[in-house]
């Protein structure tokens, strides 16, 4: 066990899977000698060479599509999209092809591939280097969507994703790459895709979050805990397929729900959680279901004061927790 950053855990997972299975390869822009713009693949080119770690042309559609074909024919691609914002040219390939092929062939062809993409704001990146895309892609049956909130899960979930026989969109909180640290065991272990994780037990209210927002929710829960508010925190980890049982069980206990996400609010991931709670947890409901999310503006603006106002953070989250607890 040693303490690692989120990005180190991600790199370690890829390194171990590349060593474990020669069918695994990585492609994407600048993933080779340069190790990717965030350095997620640093050192892997030197270790595994140009047939396993392949610099691609600037062509997201092709990065994904070539991954689909290679996956259908026995390889296990890890396709890196440099920023989640740049994934949209590949939307057609992900939604119309990768997510549907298994269904449409009556379970004959599988597409075992991983698409990794850093998401989220707070780094001053402006409208095209800050986006959260999970709601759009979680809408797609046949595609799995995973967002780890800590290094332990990141390594274990990424290994599961690489071994999974389905297309998995693996979203990484870029703001947390070096900020979020935690213990990561050496060597092989996996965290299954699917189950959510209750990361903090509490009795007054349940907060649902994932990725970067989960990190901030931990801080906020700590803060309001000092004031006597007992928060239960559920780290969703896998957005599709969702672990409904864990979501509902916690709600049965507290009767109050706050969903925190950075993606914009309207039709965001929190809307689905709220709908499930209203639908299947109505008898336990003690308060209106609350959402704290990014505002519905067309992108995270560049200017710092506007960006800061856009982003949910520990302070806003703590305020929302207080408000809900007081209800």
């Amino acid at each position: 066990m040693s303490e690692k950053t989120l990005i180190e855990a991600i790199r370690e997972a890829m390194d171990e899977e590349l060593a474990r299975n020669s069918e695994v390869f990585i492609t994407g822009e600048d993933v080779g000698p340069r190790g990717g713009v965030f350095r997620a693949t640093l050192g892997l080119f030197a270790k595994y060479g140009p047939t396993r770690i392949i610099d691609s042309p600037l062509a997201e559609l092709s990065i994904v599509a070539v991954g689909i074909g290679a996956a259908m024919n026995g390889l296990r691609p890890i396709c890196e999209i440099q920023f989640a914002d740049f994934i949209q040219p590949a939307y057609n390939q992900i939604v119309n092809e990768a997510a549907r092929i298994y269904y449409r062939t009556g379970g004959t062809f599988t597409v075992p591939m991983v698409i990794r993409a850093p998401y989220g704001g707070g780094i001053g990146g402006g409208l095209y280097h800050s986006q959260s895309i999970e709601a759009t892609y979680s809408h797609v049956p046949g595609l799995k969507v995973v967002i780890p909130s800590n290094p332990y899960d990141a390594k274990g979930l990424l290994k599961s994703a690489i071994r999974d026989n389905n297309p998995v969109l693996f979203l990484e909180a870029k703001k947390g790459y070096r900020l979020i640290k935690g213990e990561v065991p050496e060597g092989d272990y996996t965290v299954p895709i699917g189950p959510a994780n209750v990361t903090r037990e509490g009795t007054d209210l349940t907060v649902y979050a994932y990725g970067m927002m989960h990190f901030y929710c931990q801080q906020a829960a700590e803060e309001v805990g000092k004031e006597g508010i007992s928060v239960e925190l559920v780290d969703l980890r896998t957005l599709n397929p969702l672990d409904k049982d864990t979501v509902l069980n916690s709600f049965k206990k507290t009767g109050k729900a706050l969903i925190v996400y950075e993606d914009n609010r309207f039709l965001g991931y929190g809307a689905e959680i709220a709908a499930i709670l209203a639908d299947e947890g109505f008898n336990y409901m003690d308060a209106p279901i609350m959402r704290l999310a990014g505002p519905d503006v067309p992108g995270v603006p560049y200017s710092h004061p506007l960006q800061d106002w856009f982003m949910p953070g520990p302070k806003k989250i703590a305020d929302a927790m207080r408000k809900l607890a007081a209800y």
């Binding site: 822009e29 600048d30 080779g32 000698p33 340069r34 713009v37 610099d55 691609s56 042309p57 600037l58 062509a59 559609l61 092709s62 914002d85 740049f86 949209q88 040219p89 780094i123 001053g124 990146g125 402006g126 409208l127 095209y128 280097h129 505002p295 519905d296 503006v297 067309p298 603006p301 560049y302 200017s303 710092h304 004061p305 506007l306 106002w309 856009f310």
Partner: protein, 354 residues
Amino acid sequence: MSQSQVSSAAPDAAVGKKTARPARNGEAARQETEVIDTATLKDWYRQMVLIRRFEEEARAAYQQGKVGGFLHLYIGEEAIAIGAIHALRPEDHIVTHYRDHGHAIARGLDPRRLMAELYGKETGVDKGRGGSMHFADVTKNFWGGYAIVAGHLTIAVGLALAAQRANEKRVAMVFFGDGSTDNGEFYECLNLAAVWKLPVVFVCENNQYGMGVAISKASAVTNVYQKASMANIPAQQVNGMDALEVYAAVSKLVEEARNGGGPRFVEALCYRYQGHSVADPDKYRDKDTLEEWKQRDAIERMRGVLEARGVMAEDLSLVNADVEREIKEVLAFAESSPAPDVSTLFDHIYAQPV
């Protein structure tokens, strides 16, 4: 259009180590540009110095944390914006990529408002919303810098379509890097512009790298102008370190496009002097090659042209001093401008009906 209309400056240039040999018609081009008066050339010289100094100050501000996000510098490529944009008329359209500071300054956008945009201030050209990659000014027909690589190319084609429909003799010029020519949108837009015979001038700034990836690793065709042949678009390669050569070649292409000839394509060979963005330590490029390119610096070249025309060195020093004075104003303006008020976050989401 036949393939034979595609001409090349250096068709056999060694991959990755391409030298900016003058175009075959380089000498003729320079002769044509002899008619440009010295005062104009001095102005172009000033603009190139201004672009460089603007960016050096932007880099310093970035390193001090006053400018955030991603800052892509144009230093070393100034001759292309100057030569190509001065071949346009004010009513012609410009669309560019995120490496857009040079184009904006060459087009005459107010450098104070550009720096204020980098500082994220309300007085910036996008009111601080866009930042470095999205300089825009509709009053200058400068339709902005775009961050999604290659996505802007067909937008320029659409501007040209509107001009054609209105029977206007306006062209749309679009700037892009070598890396974007490996993207599918590039091929779609060449085909569309050609089949509809639209007045688009494609200007590829081939600095031979897309981030850390050398063109030879990303592109099956490293003489980018040859890619235009897939849509039979007349194309040529020029020395992007020479504003006069760029100007001479592009002027001709612009007029052909303006007069109903359909799209035109030019590839300007160049090299960026630093990393992809200020955050890139640039460990992947060979230092000797970089030094070779710096020896052909566009600003020094223009200085040489002016001195050969009898402009005194002291005279040019005065120009540089004047740029320094302007830079001070530019920085003072950006520093002292107000940040956007957070109450404006929801402004400009939907346009109101008129």
